[in-house]
Subunit: 346 residues, 2 copies
DNA sequence: TACACATGCTGAATCGAATCAGCACGATCA
DNA sequence: TGATCGTGCTGATTCGATTCAGCATGTGTA
């Protein structure tokens, strides 16, 4: 049934009654260019089918110096949502182009990173995706200049490498629009710190203020806290205990939103009856809260897919930062619009 | 500074004043076996350093038919916790052994799976990790028999392939022990369905009952629902509305626990004052709940690491199912022990 | 008849390392 | 003195594909 051993190109050629050269031309799609006759081409294809021939990738790699692989180097593959969804998008985009993903996790260790980059270059990956868990400005490792590289979820202001990041500023505007469109009247506050070395926080905040300014409003205060459930709970709890009674809260990510939900519940404040809440990231967690929190989603899958596409599509590797839109995930954390009112747009 | 071009083995040999053969012997660790003189070996090593020589992987692959890569085929890389943590463990274990991970996601599509397996075999990966998101019995794809393969989080009763799975039964016992050790007195119920084609649910339940039977107790009822937050909330809410007042609830995973928390809160029941809760999976979500829910964790990282190890370590590839222990993650969802009482053990 | 030209193919070199078989040389032994 | 043996190395081949340069034909043109 199965061939006794692995057939190679010369076996195919012999069986088709042609030279290995001709067989190669057929299989690499150069048949027309090389004026291979219709009949010879057919015989080669038939021999391939009969022998179950599959080219030896290593031999091809050696000869062509290309491997049909894309390297993915990220700081934390492990940290759930972002990296893994991004990988899914990248994996599919790569497979469509007959490529596979080679991955490595640095755990934030510069030495491991150097090692991984070298490994990948040694293995002649056709390109590298350099991914960070948190959206931030970085300095790309020197070695990466030796290969086609695309940055994902980060960018280097001093480097011409192409980068794909979420449009955090636009996302901020979207979040603010959600509250405005729902006619939220009280003060609007932001929960979560905005450390300067990451761009997600500052840009989300800037976008929020930008949108609010259009209607003569602004963020009343920022309640700073790490982007974590417990920290957000504690900060919000303490803040509410001072008597603060916000109309709308914009949480800088879904984990913060969860902490905020806990704190609001503890103070007997209803969502969305007493307080409207909007969040960022669009993780599953957003859908788990009661009511679901409206969340401005990171375009996880898109980022991976677009990055791979630009890496593999000829000519698609333009320098510069591409900002992908952050779609809105629905929820029940702001009051429903009166039915007569027109559907707003951002 | 950097060599004008890529140095190859023959360049190293020339510079060291030896033949390529000798240089190769030195670099492949066969210097002693081949009786290469101390001085020749030194000269080769120095030449390597001076030229910044790095072997061409493709050439090595072709010659040796091995690639120092491990293929990972999983149904859903994307679905967050399990796969990504597993990848982290696998990635590190692989890197330690000078291997890289080549990944592919099937999205549960059998055709894509076939394609991926072929791709990986074509690329001569040294072994394949076949991973499922959900712990279940499977039928391994025929093609996998052609390669070294290890199953992760699943097993095939009709195949001798080595498999690594969590010890779900033991985990069930652990969960029950948590309630017993805390002297929970009321009825103990389980929340979550136990579909037969997956083994996690049924085995967790069996373990729970096994442990309870040791003290003459048993699970009073199972509240069936999909392992999802909203479904668990609704099922538990409806169940509590009938007047049920459990002493302890064992949730079959952390998402179920979150739904249960929501339902208990709605009925004014305090955790752990009125009801004790224990859960499974040990995801981050468990730590986000207030109070943290005690969770019997899936040994994510370990599974990946052990699987890679058994794949790459010579002789370590024994057939059969290996069950890795599920460690307990602490939390505040059962009453604290009276301080005088001795620390129990499972 | 001769010459150019298109057609349809092939031989041989190449990519860069690994490895088998064997060679030259000096020391040892009978 | 010649045979034997250990030491330290190397030449040539191989892995399996890609690809350049060129070689027979047949066909049209002067």
């Amino acid at each position: 049934m199965s061939p006794r051993s692995k057939a190679k190109l010369s076996d195919v050629a012999t069986r088709a009654g042609v030279s290995a050269t001709t067989a190669s031309y057929v299989l690499t799609g150069r048949a027309t260019e090389m004026r291979i006759s219709e009949s010879a081409e057919q015989r080669v294809r038939q021999a391939v089918a009969e022998l179950g021939y599959r080219p030896n990738r290593s031999a091809q790699n050696l000869r062509t110096s290309r491997t049909s692989t894309v390297g993915v180097i990220s700081d934390f593959v492990a940290s759930g949502h972002f990296s893994s969804q991004m990988l899914a998008g990248a994996s599919e985009a790569a497979l469509q182009r007959d490529h596979l993903l080679v991955i490595g996790e640095t755990s934030g260790d510069a030495e491991v990173e150097r090692l991984l980059i070298e490994e990948m270059i040694d293995r002649q990956v056709d390109g590298i995706l350099y991914v960070t868990r948190t959206g931030m400005e970085i300095q790309v490792p020197e070695k990466l200049a030796e290969t086609r590289t695309v940055l994902v979820n980060c960018f280097d202001p001093d480097s011409p490498l192409p980068a794909f990041v979420p449009d955090e500023f636009g996302g901020g505007r979207t979040a603010a629009s959600v509250l405005l469109d729902a006619d939220v009247t009280g003060d609007i506050h932001v929960v979560g710190e905005t450390p300067p070395h990451t761009f997600a926080g500052p840009q989300r905040l800037a976008g929020i203020n930008d949108r609010l300014a259009e209607v003569g409003r602004s963020v009343t205060s920022v309640v700073p806290c790490p982007w974590a459930v417990e920290a957000a709970y504690e900060a919000t709890h303490a803040w509410l205990a001072t008597g603060a009674r916000p109309g709308g809260l914009i949480c800088l990510n879904d984990r913060v939103a969860m902490g905020v939900y806990q704190a609001l519940a503890e103070h007997g404040l209803d969502i969305p009856g007493d307080v409207s809440v909007v969040s960022f990231d669009g993780t599953e967690l957003a859908t788990w809260l009661r009511p679901r929190v409206i969340s401005v989603a990171l375009p996880f899958v898109e980022l991976g897919a677009r990055a791979v596409q630009s890496l593999l599509e000829p000519g698609a590797l333009a320098p510069g930062v591409v900002r992908l839109p952050m779609p809105l995930m629905p929820g029940g954390s702001v009051p429903a619009l009166p039915p007569t009112k027109e559907q707003p747009h951002v």
